[in-house]
Amino acid sequence: MTPDVIFDQLIGAGRVSKLTFSWGGNPGVGSLHRFRDAVENAWPRAIEIEEHSHAGMAARYSAGASGLPFGTLRGYRGTDLLQFAENVRLIDCPFTGQKLAAVRAINPDVSIVHAQRADREGNVQIWGIIGIQKEAILSAKVAIATVEEIVDRLEPVPGAVVLPAWVMSAVACVPNGAHPSFAMGYSHRDNDFYRDWDRISSDRAAFEQWIERHVIGTPDHSAFLDSISMTASGGRSGI
């Protein structure tokens, strides 16, 4: 739905051939420069885009999670999205005759979500602003969760969603794995990173240096976080 700075890195590194999305920006900051450069200038390669609204994407994931071929919503009509979006058709309600949009189900080959914790059986517990993570997992062929910690017993939390171990393909403990986003109760949103990303990503050479040093040049997530860690003066080292 909302590819943000992580997808911008993948796009800039030339690892994306097609993007299906509904909002491609740097939240609270502005543009995703690598995404724009790919769409506007085909750098480092041309990417195909398939574009929807949030409500349309939510209906697509819900249909995928429900095992249905399509979802329905009152949407798209009158917009230019309808003209360009594959996987959207207008249909007539069989009961009332209302014209509705049908959107093709999404069943990702792989979905990866980040959650607060899992127990040793692999049951995953997630709370706070849960977004569309439940649907992303239940619609996927392979479902992976990274978690802040693995515990002996999942204590109940108000409003929490539990994804039972038997719908998960794999669970991995990756502290601060949502970075630069956050996991409620465990980490804070790294707002400076989103702001810094605007500067790093707006220049091709600066981006290439950054990704070489901090992503390709680090063996794992923890080393990545160390490599971009704050200096004592409050500024970031290395970016």
């Binding site: 769409v39 917009t79 999205l81 602003i129 569309i132 409620m184 949103r189």
Partner: protein, 259 residues
């Protein structure tokens, strides 16, 4: 505020947008679906200034958020921590927005046309855009289903265009009757608040017409900053000066000290 203590054009725009939400809340139309940026600033100002306060709803699923500082994204933890309820994204768009439970949709955009349609997708052609914008997000269905849409945007010739390069969200489509034909259940673009004044749709033609100017703004300024042959209402009004109380609270909301 500008350094001389006078409100900037943006301050005046945000204060007037907050007043519009306050007026709607007073007549019982309080539930407001809010985008990040100018709409969120104005909505949070309205929440601090008015009783009854608007109920702020964010597309991440946060209902009744009362943030103590302005959120940087719709997924900001502050919105969830201070909400009356947090629901999933599929739920916010279906049970809440699509079902007609939202009174006011509060939107911005890159282009707005004379019939209140909004572009937040591309400037130029779709396949070879001059500027690729972030895209639709929640806006199309907010514009379709909210009881009325309030747009807050800076008025410039580039932004206020005869026809949007891309129609991301429908205001009045191609003219009167289009919303009904398209089956759009909400009321459409009811109010546009800019840094120059206020536009409202003509009840007969649906064309956006300047109905109010902010203090010190001339008709010529509006004409110079609008890309269509802008009309003015016969009873063209003037908005009230922003008060010290409004400006002080705006400052507090922006600096995150409003509790």
């Amino acid at each position: 505020m500008a350094s001389d203590g006078k409100p900037t054009a943006d301050d005046v725009m945000i204060v007037n947008a907050a007043r519009a939400l306050g007026d709607l809340a007073r007549v019982g139309r309080a539930t407001c679906f809010v985008g990040i940026g100018l709409p969120s600033t104005a909505a949070n100002l309205a929440r601090k200034l008015y009783d009854p306060a608007p109920v702020l709803i964010y597309e991440s699923g946060c209902i009744g958020s009362k943030p103590t500082r302005l959120p940087l994204s719709i997924g900001d933890g502050e919105l969830g921590d201070t909400a009356d309820a947090v629901v999933s994204v599929p739920e916010i768009f279906t049970y809440w927005l699509q079902a007609g439970r939202i009174d006011v949709g509060f939107l911005g955009g890159a282009q707005l046309d004379r019939l209140g349609n909004i572009n937040s997708t591309v400037i130029g052609s779709y396949h070879a855009p001059k500027t690729r914008l972030p895209g639709a997000g929640g806006a199309p269905e907010i514009a379709a289903a909210a009881g009325r849409v309030v747009v807050v945007m800076r008025q410039t010739r580039r932004a206020f265009v005869e026809r949007c390069d891309f129609r991301t969200s429908v205001g009045f489509g191609d003219g009167p009757g289009d919303r009904e034909t398209l089956g759009l259940t909400g009321g459409g673009t009811g109010l546009v608040i800019t840094d120059l004044g206020i536009l409202e749709p003509d009840p007969g033609t649906c064309e956006l017409v300047m109905t109010c100017l902010h203090p010190g703004v001339s008709r010529e300024q509006c004409l110079d900053n609008t890309g269509w042959a802008l009309r003015f209402a016969d009873d063209l009004g003037c908005t009230m000066q922003a008060t010290d109380e409004e400006l002080e609270m705006l400052h507090r909301v922006r600096s995150g000290v409003a509790s």
